[in-house]
Symmetry: C2
Subunit: 399 residues, 2 copies
C-alpha cells in the first residue's frame, strides 16, 4: 500500500501504517511516492455553465456566484426502507445551507440584469438568510420582511448578513401578495418563495439528480412541500428533460407534509380543486409550515396530471426520522426529515420494491438548534485514569 | 431573451419578464424554448477519484462518501483589502459544514480498510460532529471524548449523530496523547486533529485551490490555525504539487491566530524552537482555541523552512471580520473570520499589491449560534398599511 510509509515530521523515524504518532512525541506524516504524472481530474462546474441551454439567459459579470447547487446525491443503505434504492439530494451543502440559494442566485442575477437596485423577500427562515446573503453580496439594497411573531433566534441568522429587517404586524398570509404589489411600485425585486426565477433555480435539482443517477429519472421523488415553489421547480426540471429528449419518463412525485400543516395533502386527498387555508398550523417542521401556500393550486394541478402522491406525517415520526438520518451521517432540519418519515409510511401503501427513490434534504440541521432539545444527549462521565477501562466496557450496559 | 415568455400556470395568460404573478392570482412560469439538443455538462468529481494518484490507497466500497470536499473558491471584491486578488476557500460547504469532513472521511476509510471496528476522537466542536457522522455512517462503534467544561449547546450537535459521548474529567491537554495510547490498546482508531490521514484530507484543499485558480499557486494562503493539522495538510499539498512537477512555486503561508490563544504566533515571533502552552486561553474563536497544539512544533518547522508568517488578531477585529464577510454573503464561524482580520493587519506590514491571496473559511457560522448575541440585529417595525411608505423611506434616516 502506498501509505505504508509513515515518517516523523521531526526526527524522520519511519513507521508502518498502524501508528499515529512518533515515540519522540511529534506527529507522523504519510510519504506519497508517485512516478506516474497523471493529470489532476478535479472538476466543479457552475450552475449557469452546466445548464445554460435550459436556463433563462442570465449573465454573472461580477462574481455573484458562491458555488450554489452541484450538491451531492448521497446513498442511504441499511435503513428501515430496505428493498428500495434510496438517495438523498443534500441541499444543505449550499452557501447558506439550504436549497434556497439556487433560486436566490438566479433571482438576484435577474434583478441586476433588469436594472433593479433593490431586492427583498418575505421569509422567516432559509429564504430570508439566502436573499440577504445574495442581495448584500450584489450590493443591492436588501430588505427582508418578517412577521411580528418570529423569535429573535430566527432573526439573528438573517440579520448577520446586514440587510434591512422589517417586522410587519398584521396578517402574514396577506404579506406575500401585498409585498409583490408594493415591491413593484417601490422598485424592489421581491424574490418570494415561488416567483418564476425560484422555480428555475429549483429545476436544476432535477437536472443534477438525472445526471448523478447516470442519465436516469428516479421512480419516485419525495419533496418536503411548503409554498410549492421548490416542488414546481423540480417537476418542471424533469418535465423539460423529457420535453427536450433527454429522458422519456417522469418520476412519480411525492409531496411530503407535516400533519400539523398539510394544506396540499388535505386538498388532494379530498379531491378539491383548490387549496384552503390550514387552520392553526403547528409543527416542528417550521420550514414547511405555510398554511396557505401561494403555489398550492399549481401543485395540485401537477399532482393530478402526473399521478402524484401526498403524505402527511406526525410529529413523533418527524423527530424519529431526523435521528435516523443523523445516524446515517446527515443532520437535516426537521422539515427535511419529513420525506423520510413519509417514505416509511408510504412503503406500506405503495409498491416501491426495487424502486429508485430520491428524497430532497432541503436544509441543514444547524438551522434550528433549539430542536436539539427534543433529542436529549446521553452522556457518560469518566476520568483520565479510568478512561481505558471505560472504553472497554460495553456502553449498552451503562445506565 | 429566452425568458421573456412567462405564462400563468393556471389560465395560461402570457406576460413579459417583469411580472411576478398572474392577475388571476396564480403563479407564473418561464417557458424555455430550446431547439439545440446539447449535452448537459454537469460534473461533480469525488475526492478519491480526483486525486487517487496523490492520496493513500483507500477503497470506498460501501458508499461512505457524502460528497466531502470539492468546495467553492469564492471571489471577494470591494473589501477593505483592495489591491489584492482575494479568494475564500469555503469549507463550510461540506457534509457536516467544516473542513474536518475531508480528514474524517479518509480516516474512517483507513479504519475500515485496516479492520478496525471502532473509531473515536477528542473534540469539542467541528471534529466531534464530523467523526460522529462518518463513524456512525460506517456502522463503526463511535466514541467522542469531550472535556467536562463543555456547555450542552456544543454537545447536542455531536450527540445527534448517535455516537457514544464520554465526558472526561482531568487535564484536557493530556487527553490528546492519552487517548491515542489507550485507543491503540482498546482497538479504537483515534482520528485526532493531526493524525496522518487528517493531514492527507487537508492536502486536497491545496490541490483544489491550485486547480480552481487555473493550475496556479496562490501568492499567500491564510489558515486559521489550532492544532496545526489542517495547516500541515495544506502545506503538504502544495509541497507535493511541486514535488511531482505540477507547479514550481510554493505559496507564502500565513498562520492566523487569535491573540487570546496564539501559542504558535508567540513561539514563532520569539524565535523559539518549540511551542509552549498558552496560559489562560480566551477568545470567541473557539474552534482554534487550542493552547498546546499537538502539531505546533511541526508548524514552526514549516514556517521557518518556507519563509512563513504568523499574525494574531484581537477579539474586536475578529467580530468585525465576521460581519464584513457576512455582508459579502459568507457567514463564517468566528475562527474562520480570523484570516480576514489577519489580512487587514498584514497588508500594512507586508507588500501584497496584486497578490493572489486565498483565505480558508474552515466552518459555518451556524456552528456557534450564541455568537450572534454579539451582533445585535437592528429591526424596524411597520404594518401592512404603512409598508409601502416605510419601504420608500431611507432606512438610514430611521432611529
Amino acid at each position: 500500500m502506498k501509505h505504508s510509509r509513515l515518517i516523523c515530521t521531526a526526527c524522520g523515524k519511519e513507521y508502518s501504517q498502524e501508528y499515529f504518532r512518533c515515540t519522540c512525541g511529534e506527529p507522523l506524516e504519510i510519504v506519497i511516492e508517485n512516478q506516474k504524472l497523471i493529470k489532476l481530474q478535479f472538476r466543479r462546474s457552475e450552475m449557469l455553465e452546466s445548464f445554460s441551454h435550459l436556463l433563462p439567459e442570465l449573465k454573472d459579470n461580477n462574481f455573484l456566484s458562491m458555488g450554489e447547487g452541484l450538491t451531492p446525491l448521497t446513498r442511504l443503505e441499511n435503513t428501515t426502507l430496505d428493498g428500495l434504492e434510496l438517495f438523498v439530494k443534500n441541499e444543505s451543502i449550499n452557501p447558506t445551507w439550504s436549497f434556497k440559494d439556487r433560486g436566490s442566485y438566479l433571482a438576484t442575477l435577474d434583478a441586476i440584469n433588469q436594472g433593479y437596485r433593490q431586492i427583498g423577500t418575505v421569509s422567516t427562515g432559509n429564504m430570508g438568510a439566502s436573499v440577504a446573503a445574495y442581495g448584500k453580496r450584489a450590493n443591492l439594497r436588501t430588505t427582508i420582511l418578517i412577521s411580528d411573531s418570529i423569535p429573535e433566534e430566527k432573526i439573528a441568522p438573517i440579520a448577520i448578513y446586514g440587510p434591512r429587517v422589517l417586522k410587519v404586524t398584521g396578517d402574514y398570509g396577506d404579506l406575500y401578495h401585498k409585498s409583490i404589489e408594493i415591491g413593484a411600485k417601490a422598485g424592489i425585486y421581491m424574490a418570494n418563495s415561488d416567483v418564476p426565477m425560484r422555480v428555475e433555480g429549483s429545476k436544476t435539482i432535477a437536472f443534477e439528480i438525472f445526471l448523478q443517477l447516470g442519465e436516469k429519472v428516479p421512480d419516485f421523488i419525495v419533496v418536503p412541500t411548503s409554498s410549492g415553489g421548490n416542488l414546481r421547480g423540480i417537476e418542471k426540471g424533469f418535465r423539460e428533460l423529457k420535453k427536450f429528449g433527454f429522458s422519456n419518463t417522469l418520476p412519480r412525485i411525492v409531496v411530503a407534509q407535516a400533519m400539523g400543516c398539510c394544506p396540499i395533502h388535505l386538498a388532494f386527498s379530498q379531491g378539491a380543486e383548490t387549496v384552503s387555508r390550514f387552520i392553526d398550523p403547528c409543527t416542528v417542521a417550521h420550514a414547511i409550515e405555510n398554511p396557505f401556500p401561494p403555489s398550492g393550486n399549481a401543485v395540485l394541478k401537477i399532482l393530478r396530471e402526473t399521478d402524484g402522491i401526498t403524505v402527511a406525517v406526525d410529529e413523533a415520526s418527524i423527530l424519529k426520522a431526523q435521528r435516523d438520518l443523523a445516524e446515517k451521517g446527515l443532520f437535516a432540519q426537521p422539515a427535511s426529515a419529513v420525506p423520510f418519515a413519509a417514505l416509511n409510511k408510504l412503503q406500506k401503501e405503495v409498491n416501491m420494491k426495487r424502486a429508485v427513490v430520491v428524497a430532497v434534504l432541503t436544509g441543514s440541521g444547524l438551522k434550528y438548534p433549539t430542536i436539539l432539545e427534543k433529542h436529549p444527549s446521553k452522556i457518560e462521565i469518566t476520568d483520565l485514569i479510568s478512561l481505558g477501562e471505560t472504553l472497554e466496557r460495553n456502553p449498552n450496559c451503562i445506565q
